[in-house]
């Protein structure tokens, strides 16, 4: 009798264990595409493993020489064996939104990096959001004003606008109002179309500051007036790496965090470029914004990419990673690598988590060699409503300037 009861007890225990064993993996069947944070993705190790399996990350309009992204790409690709592709690096923030709306699934980006100029389009009123909510590991270190509460978008890095110029230009420019100097005729320009490109838009705003419009950030008429005066002398040129390197563009506004990418490229073409902040007013722009595309084709990489970009770690760069490091498990490897926030810091950008990182003593040094002059006043950042109001002004008058 006792043996029978013992067998029954053992059988029940086995059954119980069996049920639990079957039930637990069912709970652990994770849908990474719906994961809203690293825990829902099964932990960092699982996320890295899934990303490695996907093997691809699709980005959009993110040039290598922008805010040190080249170094970030190299580190990510080397560590996780993932191939990063970038659709139309020269494109604008608006192009990113339009692509998300119209491109076929295989051409959709996983993650976007847009300006505040277009972020409102991610959450159309009365429609479904175009991005998937996600909150990175150190979510609380992102200031509340720079993120959407549910994780639909989150600020990434910010910058100030500086003046880039070819040292062959004399006299050297010191502020926006210098742009109308007849000695610069035919060499002054802008990085793109300010109705869609965030950098170009902020350039008009910076020009406005330097032309008497520093009191009201929602009104860029003074900035438009400055560019109109420049255009009256000679058409505006496109200020990009190609033209700066070719000598056809010699002065304009550009993000300070692009200096480290642009200067060596121009030097390789035989030209000497310099960046200075305007000596009167310097525009502190609102941060660029990351979001995960709701149509993202590589869900694990879309999320791992965010974790990497928002990682606050000090650590190794791509060249410093050893073969042994690469064999480590996901989270251990991750911990050894320098995080995206510090890569941005090195480029001179202001990483969104800088305040928290400063407290934790995690910030590395910026490699920028120029500073805001003591005479200058840093203005901004403009609010989203400032940006949208100014954008309307530009849309209605830029084309016929």
């Amino acid at each position: 009798m006792r043996a029978k009861r013992l067998v029954a007890a053992l059988a029940s225990a086995a059954l119980l264990v069996g049920i639990v064993a079957i039930a637990t993996p069912a709970q652990a069947a994770i849908n990474i595409c719906k994961a809203k944070n690293v825990k829902e993705a099964g932990g960092l190790d699982n996320l890295v493993a899934a990303a490695k399996k996907e093997g691809k990350l699709a980005l959009i309009t993110t040039p290598r020489d922008w805010a040190n992204y080249g170094a970030i790409f190299d580190a990510y690709e080397k560590a996780f064996g993932v191939k990063i592709t970038v659709d139309y690096p020269d494109g604008s923030s608006q192009y990113e939104i339009d692509t998300m709306k119209t491109a076929p699934k295989s051409k959709q980006p996983d993650s976007i990096d847009i300006g505040p100029l277009v972020v409102a389009q991610l959450t159309p009123p009365g429609g479904t959001p175009m991005s998937s909510p996600y909150q990175v590991i150190n979510w609380k270190d992102i200031p509340a004003a720079a993120k959407d509460a549910s994780g639909l978008w989150f600020g990434n890095y910010g910058g100030k606008l500086a003046i880039v110029y070819n040292t062959a230009l004399t006299p050297a420019p010191t502020k926006a109002s210098d742009f109308t100097n007849p000695a610069y005729k035919g060499y002054v320009g802008i990085t793109g179309d300010p109705t869609s490109s965030n950098q170009a838009f902020m350039s008009v705003l910076a020009a406005s500051l330097g032309n008497g419009g520093e009191k009201n950030l929602s009104d860029v008429t003074k900035g438009l007036a400055l560019f109109k005066a420049v255009k009256a002398q000679a058409p505006l040129v496109k200020v990009n790496a190609t033209n700066l390197g070719g000598g056809t563009a010699r002065v304009g506004f550009m993000w300070d965090f692009n200096a480290l990418g642009i200067i060596p490229a121009a030097k390789a073409a035989g030209l000497d470029l310099k960046f200075v902040y305007p000596s009167d007013y310097v525009l502190q722009a609102p941060p660029y914004i990351n979001a995960i595309n709701v149509k993202s084709p590589n869900c694990a990489n879309a999320r791992l990419w965010q974790e990497f970009v928002y990682s606050q770690n000090k650590g190794k760069t791509a060249a410093q990673l050893t073969a042994a490091d690469l064999k480590l498990s996901g989270s251990k490897l991750f911990a050894k690598m320098q995080g995206g926030q510090n890569y941005f810091m090195q480029s001179g950008a202001d990483p969104i988590m800088s305040k928290a990182m400063e407290k934790k003593n995690l910030l590395v040094d910026s490699l920028l060699d120029f500073k805001v002059p003591s005479t200058a006043k840093v203005v901004g950042p403009p609010t989203i409503s400032d940006v949208l109001a100014a954008r309307e002004q530009i849309i209605s008058s830029w084309a016929s300037l």
């Binding site: 020269d90 119209t102 076929p104 699934k105 295989s106 051409k107 790496a241 070719g246 490229a265 073409a269």
Partner: protein, 255 residues
């Protein structure tokens, strides 16, 4: 034929040559500059061909261009042969259709493609050779049309058919060799157009050689110019060389 120096011809060729080659030579000079070392050198070219993605993109655009040429010849040669032989009433209509792509700006065409084709089509890179075919059509059609007009097509075809050849043999073994001058010109311009096509490719989110060159230009402008030069000069040189090496065809009646 007169054998003395043909002044007007030489003058024409010299002026044309000047006009055509000055920009090319200037760009070539740019591309062999090595500002970091001073002076000139092949550094930019060496960098270009050792770039790991160079071969990948050249091959990619190369086979897309080759596919375009194949599609163009496969569709146009039989169709035009038939149009010439049958004197069909539909010929003016098709002549007109062939010019339409000239009338549409490429940008508009690209957006039309973006908003019309189903996902399946837009996901395959095979849509590109067909779209390039459309872009090359005005030139390719004319070129082949002229070639066929300048030969005694009826006579040749009758001869081949009565010798027992079927239509595909007639076209491939008889007609094409006779008009090979204009076939070469068609191949040249279709290939050049497809290799350099940028606008349509970018708007449809594909990456090919020209889009890669633009990408590269951001980091290394001189390298990008070197690559550009190669992509211009090499097809040019190869196609011209092939044309020069092709044996003369003996002229039969007419010019």
């Amino acid at each position: 034929m007169k054998r003395r120096l043909d002044i007007p011809l030489i003058a024409t060729l010299s002026i044309l040559g000047f006009f055509v080659f000055i920009p090319m030579v200037s760009a070539f000079e740019f591309s062999i500059r090595t500002p970091l070392k001073g002076g000139y050198g092949w550094d930019n070219y060496i960098w270009a061909v050792t770039e790991e993605e160079f071969v990948h993109y050249i091959l990619r655009s190369g086979w897309l261009a080759a596919a375009t040429v194949v599609i163009t010849l496969l569709i146009l040669v039989p169709t035009l042969t038939w149009l010439h032989l049958s004197q069909s009433k539909i010929r003016p209509f098709i002549d007109g259709l062939s010019l339409l792509p000239l009338v549409i700006p490429v940008v508009a065409f690209a957006v039309g493609a973006q908003i019309s084709f189903p996902e399946l089509m837009q996901n395959t890179v095979l849509e590109l050779p067909f779209l390039y075919f459309v872009l090359a059509l005005p030139y390719a059609y004319r070129s082949l049309d002229i070639g066929l007009s300048s030969i005694p097509l009826k006579t040749i075809t009758e001869a081949a058919r009565s010798a027992g050849a079927n239509w595909s043999r007639t076209i491939t073994a008889v007609i094409i060799p006779v008009i090979r001058g204009s076939v070469m010109a068609t191949v040249a311009l279709t290939f050049a157009l497809s290799l350099g096509e940028y606008t349509l490719t970018v708007l449809l989110h594909w990456d090919t050689f020209p889009t890669w060159v633009t990408y590269v230009a951001q980091d290394n402008i001189l390298g990008a110019i070197a690559i550009s030069m190669m992509s211009l000069i090499l097809p040019f040189a190869i196609l011209t060389g092939l044309t020069l090496l092709m044996p003369e065809r003996s002229s039969q009646g007419g010019k």
